[in-house]
Amino acid sequence: MIDAGQLALAVAFVIAAYAAAGSFLGAVRRVPELAVSARYALYVLPLVLLIAAAALLYAFVAHDFSVRYVAEHSNLAMPRAYTWVAFYAGNAGSLLFLTVVFAFLCVVAVLSIRRKLPHTTPYAVGIMGLVLTFFLGIILFLANPLERLPVVPPDGQGINPLLVHFGMFIHPPVQMTGLVSVAIPFSIAIGAMLARRGGRDEWVELGRVWGMVSWLILTFGLMLGAWWAYTILGWGGYWAWDPVENSALMPWLAMTAFIHSVMVQRRRGMFRMWNMVIIILAFTLAQLGMFINRGGAVPSVHSFAQSTMGWLFLLFMGLTLFGSLAVFVWRMDTLRSRERLDSWFSRESAFLLQNVLFLVVAFVTLWGSIFPLVFEASQGLKVGEVTVTVGKPYFDRVNGPILLVLILLMGIGPLLPWRRATLQNLVRALRVPLLAGLVVGVVVAAVGVRAPMAALALAICAVAAAGILQEWVRGSMSRHRRGESYPVAFGRLLAANRPRYGGYVVHLGILMLAIGAVASSFYSVQRDFVMRPGDVASFGGYTFRYLDVQRISFADRDEDVARFDVSSGGEQLGVMEPKRAFYPAFRIGATRAAIRSTAVEDFYIVPSEFNDDGRAVFRVYVNPLVWWMWVSGPVIFLGTLFALSPQRQPTPAAVRFPAGARTAKA
């Protein structure tokens, strides 16, 4: 089975290279059979890759420690359920995983574009083929997960304990898929430019759809990562501006800018060059993310899946950046906008400003992430010789205010009309949201929110939320006046323009996320407690009695499980069990916080250490409104799906293209 997998990898490499070369050659030389054959090669590629993936899974399940990757990332004690996690726990396996996923995504993408974008498709296939060839080349020659060991060990080293968590079943694959999925809208956009169709806007609708798919996957990867950090890393937070976190955030920011600005191109035929630049940036940042993930050059808590081959990713990033910019310059004459900005008070101007701010946040984040490398290089130090990191305060202070402006633009941008807004338009659209913001600002100040930034942030969130509600209420009432009941009016309003109203749902989700982040950033409290069994302590309105601690030994770890009896305001809240595990094989400890989460606040206990004399140290947090951050995930997901759902438009036969029409001038 392993040999079959090896052969499948080699065949897949050849197929991917053929798909790339054949597709470009077929398009340039106008040989349709060659282009179609290359496209078929892309179709068959995932099936061949599945054989290699199946071989690796089989090796894990059969505990075949003759395979180096299996020996390094599993052992006999590992529960079978974690085979899935072990598959991508290391560099080679994760590369194979993302190649398989990307190959499937490519097939779906090509099937969706090939009829609507017949000229763009061969070039898009060529670009996808190039990316796949690169990944498969790395897998085959540098990081082969099916490589054999000369001597077979009796047992493997086991899986990294930090990965043994439910969040790890989905966070890494979603995150990796998100990063690589940016290549799909990139391929469509560059393909359109190569086919001299970049300025004809046909690619925009499908580029937007795939941009949103990519954005959604990146969003979920980020949120799952934050949730994993919150529940397992035991520091009471969810976002630390760690380089690997940032590496996923940067393409997300660029993709957010892209999916908004392509709407302007779709509607007004503007921003054609700008959209190309943004998607090139997004793909470059996604590749930078892969480099940071695998390079090991930037200090990070994410130590898994690192290797020394990150520099190859950097090289590939440089080549694709140079290549795509060369295509951009070459085809610049086809990218002239149909229209110009009529006024700075218009929706497209708001989108442009929002785009610029998203990119500013991305570059502030990029600078903070790569600063250690720049510093080491400028000081003539070797990589890792001196550990330099850029901390949370830099990112919070610089990005925080810009993100607030972005939320404000998210609220008022969609309320502005296209082309230009008169003073009357502005007053009518903004008076209710601004009044709502003012009221909320005053109320939060009155109830004791003293941090000016927190009060401002909550007021801005209120402006954005009121703007969305105003849109829904006005639209529903208007339809109601024409005889529809309110529920029907609301439903039909949403159905009439799914991208727009789905977008509003997503914006509501983002607001929930922002409110949770603001509240927990400004008003989270923590304290350390040294306790013996039987001790009682109070903090943040909670009273907790340390009942006992139990040591439980497993094959791979020893766990100390503490039990707390928790109450608040005289109400019994139950027993909470934070735990700390030690993995001798890895010589690392891992904590599991006990969290009681409500819509108001989280009560969070995490053990720091257990002493032999019976004393234990616990860190206790009260984090307000964090629950809203996790609930925002499904809201964003459903909103995006609604925005992406196809809108039925009747097409009577009478106005269809005459089937027998002759064609003289194409």
Partner: protein
């Protein structure tokens, strides 16, 4: 067994990849030229123009497009449709008939969107805009 796997892994993709070339020789099934032929290009442009026109009408009827924007977009899409018709070398009467059916279809969409049951359209631009909070 390994030989069987090897044959399958190499042979199946090879057949799939070579199929477009074999098909051309046998002249069976869809032609690879179809997707880039002039006819396909014109059909796609025709569908895109009509779809955009209908979409613009729908947006205007719920107030998402101002009258000026709608008229501008309509002009663009109608010009595209006319250009395609010219390229199809239709008779003048056929062109007129096609343009008339487009107008009819757009009117139907407007009625459907505004609630054909009571036949009431928004009286003012403001009311129209309220339908979607523009």
């Amino acid at each position: 067994m390994l030989v069987l796997y090897a044959v399958l892994i190499v042979l199946v993709p090879a057949v799939v990849i070579l199929y477009p070339f074999l098909r051309r020789k046998g002249k069976v099934g869809e032609s690879a030229e179809d997707e880039s032929s002039a006819h396909a290009e014109l059909a796609r442009r025709w569908d895109a123009a009509l779809s955009s026109l209908k979409s613009a009408e729908l947006e205007r009827s719920v107030g998402n497009l101002t009258e000026d924007d709608y008229q501008w977009l309509r002009g663009q899409y109608m010009a595209e449709a006319v250009q395609v018709m010219k390229a199809m070398e239709l008779e003048e009467q056929q062109e007129q008939e096609l343009l008339a059916t487009i107008d009819l279809e757009v009117k139907r969409i407007r009625e459907r969107a505004l609630g054909a049951a009571n036949g009431k359209a928004p009286k003012t631009r403001e009311e129209s805009a309220e339908a979607a909070g523009e």
